[in-house]
Point group: C2
Chain length 526, copies 2
């Protein structure tokens, strides 16, 4: 039996395996398409430093092709919330417009018509990371409707470009069907993407709205407008025009590099000796640290990096991980949400009695700095669910699917909450935000975060710190409650005793018991 | 601010995002490496039709480089079962040898040194599907140890080839460092892969052994031998030399194709009219069905497929999904485990009191036929865990990670088990096996299966059918139990009454009460 070996393109790979990119079924596909394009838009306005205006319109085009299935009984309808029954998927037209940085004309076709092509393969905190999302949405539209997509973009220069494109899947290359150039008289800047796709909006609706709500919560400087196929308008208005500190590109931290990364640096370095090599290519390595490290590692300072042998490269990586005196990664390249913003968002959505917050010190995994922020909210509008509620965010985007596999959920499940006076029937919501130059997603669909040990540790410690704050609050509330009861007993009986004693002593005015009550108080209520 | 756009290779993509391929941390990496190579070996012997002999040796090479972290208190050690603390990762040498079909010499470098290259991009039930696993293992070894890998293979011809290879990650091409050719005097056939990698065997051990145990359970015709770094030998011996019916390659079923698939067929078809086109390229479409369908779809039978307009192609796909008279996909291309084999495996491992089994009719999703098999076992060695135990298999390999995101787990969690007289504290284990020409994994690491609606339906119906069998067993056992109690009451008092009556009547011999007892029996015990 002869085996036929073949090579497939990256686009073909994701076409064959669209499940792994979040395009599992008609409802997920419509959710993922909106999500990927909104995240591109938000990234594009981080780039331009102008508060984003994002306009999303989903309109009904015609009846779709996929068929439902008959075998399920009515009793089990609740099992199929992700949808294959009842409504047939329909064909929709999706348009997402933003006022972001725009895509340079020569890159438009590849940016939307080729997978593994993009501007996000940098050490920088961005929402997109895989260089896949936009193209996957268009590709899904193409394989379900066989129609081209329209991309209109300008970087604010003299021209606006409009491309009609499709994806050549076997070759992973864009096909340009048509190109128009308009004069940009009004100095417009931004990107508009429009295409048709099969989907199931009825099933996807609640997730899409939840996604937009949570996105608005952690991006309070964005205006987001969504018009759904029934013409309903959902508007998420900005509460500030102040943009957060923009994320910066950074170099790899020495604790996180592998031999492949070193080799790539060696291939391009202009440095002629190891001191310069260390200083120029690594995050937080200065002249002094460079000298100290090379002595520690036993690697000659004057060696030309290009002449390093294999064994030396392995040793270099090994010693980088062992050396204790590298400074921790600098958080200035990251843009966490911050206590103020996160608390404001939580207050707006949940109106809790109490919020604990903890921003962990920056840490690093595989050369990528990251910061974990945790908030725990108690009471207010948080529902009692016999379980804790978890909101997950990564680089300012909400993660909605596959919670149970997420590192944060797994940690929450294994913490001994009784130690923090928490029982699962309390109204408690936990928010975990991880920002990093590279979020360790476990699926290309960006649904959940892998169990990287360093991330696990930071999330755990963040939750514990916030939980301790909550514990102090709960303990105090308990004391206050006990004290209130004790005082209420005193204030119930003291006046009677005072009155009785007064009568017994034959006096007219009972003594002032306020002072007495005050003296038995143990805690002051605030 | 100028954005730099760039294109990266598929190997570079998976190097940057190794989390999504199952190489998250040193313990997962060592698990995934063994798993991927074992699955390649099993596939290679399906190919050669000779019962597999798989030999795995993991040996300690030297201390690794990654560092632990100090911040965790002892109290929380249990939280870190996936390991980052305590033991530093070490460098191991892994060797996996099989007697499978072997890889043709000219394909060896690409098969192990290039991602998205392989022999498994067919419509055929295989364990590997992504053309990634073997190369990812070698790539992980390379970036942690900077060493080449050795691949020795022969297809049983006159020569044995030995390649020293590395992966050129930025270009996604193999680098051949050396090649040796030996004379194959003894007619050896098979493949041996050997390379070094950083890992944490102490943390990975229990999963590796569980994986091998479950693999042996569903591949009872395989001999698997594993020598661990401490020299301990684990041997899983075959119980049969009979190989299962081999999976066959098949054509796409019309219910599952999209416009891209049609276009690809049009590009290569030798057919000059639509009747032939339908007949030759689709699963279960014969002359008659072809005619009927084309009439239903309103597409001319004599049209040359290459002349189909875009709108016609979309219509063709749409009508394919609507046409009710296509035969369901033929199961003969699939190789399910079968009732006999699955029950034997369960009996061996769990010794339950009762096993319910259900093999569903073949179904299809996106053009891929699949079969779901479900077994529910009760009692015996199954632990009472206050939750049901789930074993998941896909194309005869066990899935161990991320259970909570798997379609089967989600269905089990939402079934109303009381309806089947099942309470969660009963000792119950559920086994779900899905075999398909393409398993809809959601991660490239093959950890869990996506919520494809068609798959969801089959798994649900399979579990319900098996659950009904279990219900009948439980109901019967309950009756038998009640009857046993009732009879035991009779048999306790009847002799006394008989004796008393005998004495009262002044007789010597009490009457025979056996007949009497028999007459009150409602059910016969078997």
């Amino acid at each position: 039996m002869v085996q036929a070996f073949e090579e497939i393109s990256a686009a073909d790979f994701f076409y064959r395996n669209r499940d792994i990119a979040g395009f599992t079924n008609p409802s997920r596909a419509i959710f993922s398409s909106i999500r990927e394009l909104v995240e591109n838009s938000l990234d594009a306005s981080d780039q331009s430093r102008i508060p984003p205006e994002i306009y999303i319109r989903l309109s009904f085009e015609y009846e779709g092709s996929m068929k439902g299935s008959g075998e399920v009984k009515a009793e089990d309808e609740s099992l199929f919330e992700n949808g294959f029954r009842g409504t047939e998927p329909k064909v929709y037209r999706l348009r997402v417009a933003d006022n972001g940085s725009g895509v340079p004309a020569r890159h438009i076709p590849a940016a939307f018509g080729q997978v593994l092509f993009g501007s996000k393969y940098k050490l920088k905190q961005t929402r997109g990371t895989f260089g896949l999302g936009g193209t996957m949405a268009l590709l899904y539209g193409q394989i379900t409707t066989h129609k081209h997509a329209l991309v209109k973009s300008s970087t604010g220069g003299a021209r606006i470009y409009i491309y009609k494109i499709m994806v050549d899947i076997p070759r992973n290359r864009p096909i340009i069907l048509d190109r128009k150039i308009l004069l940009n008289k009004e100095g417009w800047r931004g990107t508009i993407v429009e295409f048709s796709l099969e989907g199931d909006y009825a099933k996807a609706m609640s997730r899409i709205l939840e996604y937009l709500k949570q996105t608005a919560l952690v991006n309070p400087y964005a205006n987001i407008m969504f018009i759904d196929p029934k013409g309903r308008l959902y508007k998420f208005t900005r509460v500030t025009t102040q943009m957060p500190r923009p994320p910066k590109e950074t170099k790899p931290h020495p604790y996180g590099v592998d031999v492949e990364a070193i080799q790539r640096l060696i291939r391009v370095t202009p440095c002629r000796n190891m001191v310069d090599f260390m200083r120029n290519h690594f995050h937080r390595v200065g002249e002094k640290t460079s000298h100290k490290f090379l002595e520690f590692a036993g690697i000659g300072k004057t060696i030309n990096p290009r002449k390093l042998s294999r064994e030396r490269i392995v040793r270099l990586v090994k010693m980088m991980k062992r050396f204790r005196n590298f400074l921790p990664p600098d958080a200035s390249c990251l843009s966490p949400i911050s206590e103020e913003l996160l608390k404001a968002g939580i207050l707006k959505e949940l109106q809790p009695e109490f919020i604990a917050f903890c921003q962990r010190q920056p840490s690093t995994y595989s050369g990528h700095p990251f910061i974990v922020e945790v908030a725990i909210a108690y009471g207010g509008n948080i529902a009692r669910k016999n379980d804790l509620v978890l909101y997950r965010f990564a680089n300012r985007i909400p993660l909605l699917y596959d919670e149970a596999s997420d590192v944060s959920w797994r940690i929450i499940k294994r913490i001994n909450w009784r130690r923090y006076k928490v029982s699962l029937d309390m109204p408690i919501a936990i928010l975990v935000h991880i920002c990093s130059t590279k979020v360790p997603y476990k699926t290309v669909g960006k649904e959940f975060i892998a169990d990287r040990p360093e991330v696990k540790r930071e999330v755990l410690n963040g939750i514990r710190e916030a939980a301790r704050q909550l514990q102090r609050f709960l303990t105090k509330r308990e004391h206050v409650e006990r004290e209130r009861k004790r005082l209420s007993t005193f204030s119930k009986y003291l006046p009677k005793i005072a009155q009785f004693s007064t009568e017994l002593a034959g006096k007219k005015r009972p003594p002032d018991i306020k002072k007495l009550l005050w003296s038995v108080k143990k805690y002051e209520e605030k």
